[in-house]
């Protein structure tokens, strides 16, 4: 199908659709569940299950560090894994624009297959729709993932407790700034790259080898600041975070300073926030450092009761600045817009 252009026929459900499914999707996602090609996939799964769905519309569809296909796998795998689950199966729905270059689609499908293999998940079922030119922008992908929960209780925002340490697995803002820079055609001296990666293997080790993980979250849209606020709100605790301990890539930091953006509000696609008892923090850090995906992990702060003893009230996230002052680290309001002067 190389060199071809996607026609409306490919979404018709007829022979053209079948060709697309068999030559492009089945051959690349190759696995016994999908190969059955029945109306639904038959899955082997037991115990409590985590399920998550996400739609991917990223523009540009290819960016340094990944593409819409790998992102659609990593994003959903991470969401399922954050609940203390072992992601097993993904569904994927493609919405494609008529006229899309088949080579582009092939690259994206290849990339999804690679990401799925790396994460150890099976793409068990899928759907393809082709819409007339202009009805959407090139390609949108929806993935739904399910996985078996292997820990009880599973990590949840409500479980953050006073005395816990807050750890992040690496630098903040890489994905968000990479996408923005690509979209606006901005180039910086130092290379920017999305951190897009599946974290399920790392999470499994954290839960099994360190244990007692109270909260696991991935700071995607809205960034670290927004996710920490969600956790503080869910658990009715206060969080104190040290600005100086939050790792930010120098290229991201200078790009943000130039554009008037704050890396703590930019999306990450291969990072996690881990909240666990202080006594376990060093062990968690040691484990994270042993994995390339966690090599820049740091303890960035702690959870407090927010009862008037510290600077923050319950539900608030307070940043201790480099100067030693305190300020609110509030939730993102709407989108970050470029400043006027």
């Amino acid at each position: 199908m190389a060199g071809e252009t996607l026609l409306l026929d490919y979404g018709s459900g007829g022979r053209a659709s079948q060709r697309l499914v068999s030559e492009l999707f089945v051959s690349r996602f190759k696995n016994p569940v999908l190969d059955e090609l029945n109306d639904a996939a038959r899955l082997d799964i037991s115990g409590p299950v985590a399920m998550s769905t996400d739609s991917f519309t990223v523009d540009p569809i290819f960016f340094p560090g990944g593409d819409i296909g790998s992102l659609a796998v990593h994003g959903t795998v991470n969401d399922v894994a954050m609940l203390g689950a072992r992601p097993k199966y993904l569904s994927c729905g493609f919405l494609l624009e008529e006229g899309l270059d088949m080579d582009i689609l092939t690259r994206i499908v290849d990339s999804m297959a690679g990401a799925a293999e790396h994460a150890g998940v099976i793409i068990a079922t899928g759907d393809t729709k082709v819409v007339p030119r202009g009805a959407l922008d090139k390609i949108f992908i929806n993935t739904t993932g399910i996985g078996e929960i292997f820990v009880d209780p599973c990590p949840a925002g409500q479980l953050a407790a006073p005395g816990d340490a807050v750890i992040i697995s690496g630098t903040m803002g890489d994905h968000g700034l990479t996408i923005l820079a690509q979209r606006e055609g901005l180039t910086f001296d130092a290379p920017l790259e999305s951190d897009c990666a599946s974290l399920n293997h790392l999470i499994e080790r954290l839960i099994l080898e360190v244990g007692d993980i109270h909260v696991l979250r991935d700071p995607t849209r809205g960034g670290l600041a927004t996710t920490l606020n969600e956790i503080a709100g869910q658990s009715a605790t206060a969080m104190i975070v040290e600005e100086d301990s939050i790792p930010v890539n120098p290229a991201v930091s200078s790009g943000c300073s130039f554009l008037g953006l704050d890396p703590l509000y930019l999306a990450n696609e291969g990072k996690l926030i881990c909240v666990l008892p202080q006594a376990k923090a060093d062990k968690a850090l040691e484990l994270l450092h042993s994995d390339p995906l966690g090599k820049n992990a740091r303890i960035i702060g702690q959870v407090e009761a927010g009862d008037g003893q510290g600077p923050a009230r319950a539900g608030q996230v307070v940043l201790k600045t480099r100067l030693g002052g305190h300020r609110l680290l509030s939730m993102l309001e709407g989108e970050q817009l470029p400043r006027i002067c």
Binding site: E184, G325, R339
Partner: protein
């Protein structure tokens, strides 16, 4: 040396703070007139570290915030016109106009509004859409006005007649004069805007010291810049010697940028302008010089800015003049939030209400 961090050195900052604490004898109210300073002071946590008897007031330093209600109504009128594309910096998208209208809503209702990062992008937009008039919203101070003037000159060289500018630029020194003329204004010193000063230099501010006996320091946006400026002013007050000082020599030449000013005043000339919450300030705006009038969106599209009054209940005017702290406004955090702003000081990321909302722990 990492210049993004060096000027925020914690140890040096602590030293300056201690020195200031020691030398500050009387209560001191300083005002900054640049949104970037507002944010820098909050973002660095400096506002929680300043001596107790040093009060920080945010003045009319955010171009979005001082954009008058009638100016907002004007660009909404243009957005509603057929065959018109509005090109704007992102900050203006949510600035509320009469009856809660804004550009984002206009866009959702079908107006063509494009967010650009540079006026040159608007020029490209005009080239790509020859059947439309592309109107760039010229809102800003002396910092951005020269680039927009240069873009207009480029449009003239390229013979583009569908590129227009709505010129609502404002000038900082006349506004400072307007503030000090208000008998209720109690400002003991000014932190002067680093960006604006790169263009205009030291001279236009001299009246602050000479006529009003108020010290002022041009300064940068990192904690050490701001602390140094404050310490300089404290010392000037202690010695009774009021001056205007350039404390940002790594970016600002005393004479400013003559080339930029030349371009600016080839295309534009000063005029009276309306400031939100303040009213008309003589000589505080820019309009087209006669030979560039064919780029004037108001003239070409035949639009007259409508009368428009303050938004009901909104105290942005008092906030802009430093008469009211943002968190003392009855609407703050209740009817007025960044998600649902009543006034412009809550819309702009550099507005003082937005800064209080976003960074202040107690409010």
């Amino acid at each position: 040396m990492d210049y993004t961090r060096a000027f925020g050195d914690p140890e040096l900052s602590k030293g300056l703070l201690a020195q200031m604490q020691e030398e500050l004898k009387e209560p001191f109210r300083f005002m900054e007139v640049c949104g970037t300073h507002t944010v820098a002071i909050f973002q660095s946590g400096l506002h929680t570290l300043l001596p107790k008897n040093m009060a920080h007031i945010s003045g009319p330093g955010c171009p979005v915030c001082v954009t008058h209600e009638s100016e907002v109504a004007t660009f909404l009128m243009l957005a509603a016109m057929d065959k018109v594309i509005i090109a704007t910096f992102g900050d203006l998208m949510r600035v509320p106009g009469p009856k809660g209208a804004n550009l984002k809503l206009a866009q959702a209702e079908g107006a063509r509004v494009e967010v650009v990062y540079s006026p040159f992008d608007a020029l490209a937009l005009a080239k790509d859409n020859p059947e439309h008039k592309v109107v760039f919203l010229g809102v800003g101070f002396e910092t951005t006005a020269p680039t927009i003037a240069a873009t207009i000159q480029m449009a003239r060289e390229q013979g583009l007649d569908n590129f227009l500018v709505l010129c609502f630029h404002k000038l900082v020194p006349p506004a400072l004069k307007g503030l000090l003329a208000d008998p209720e204004a109690a400002v003991d010193g000014f932190i002067l805007p680093g960006h604006v000063s790169t263009i205009i230099g030291l001279e236009p501010y001299q009246f602050l010291a000479k006529e009003y006996n108020v010290p002022a320091v041009i300064t940068g946006f990192d904690p050490l810049d701001i602390l140094k400026a404050l310490l300089l002013m404290v010392r000037m007050v202690n010695e009774g010697k009021h001056e205007v000082v350039n404390g940002y020599k790594r970016a600002v030449a005393d004479e400013g940028n003559p080339k930029a000013r030349q371009v600016l005043y080839e295309v534009f000339q000063p005029c009276d302008a309306l400031w939100r919450g303040i009213g008309e300030i003589p000589g505080s705006g820019l309009t087209f010089a006669p030979e560039y009038e064919r780029f004037d969106a108001l003239k070409v599209l035949g639009v007259t800015p409508p009368e428009a009054g303050p938004l009901p209940g909104c105290k942005c005017g008092d906030v802009l003049k430093g008469k009211m702290r943002p968190d003392k406004c009855p609407l703050f955090k209740k009817a007025c939030t960044p998600a649902n702003p009543v006034g412009p000081c809550m819309v702009s990321t550099e507005g003082s209400c937005a800064a209080y909302y976003k960074y202040n722990i107690d409010s």
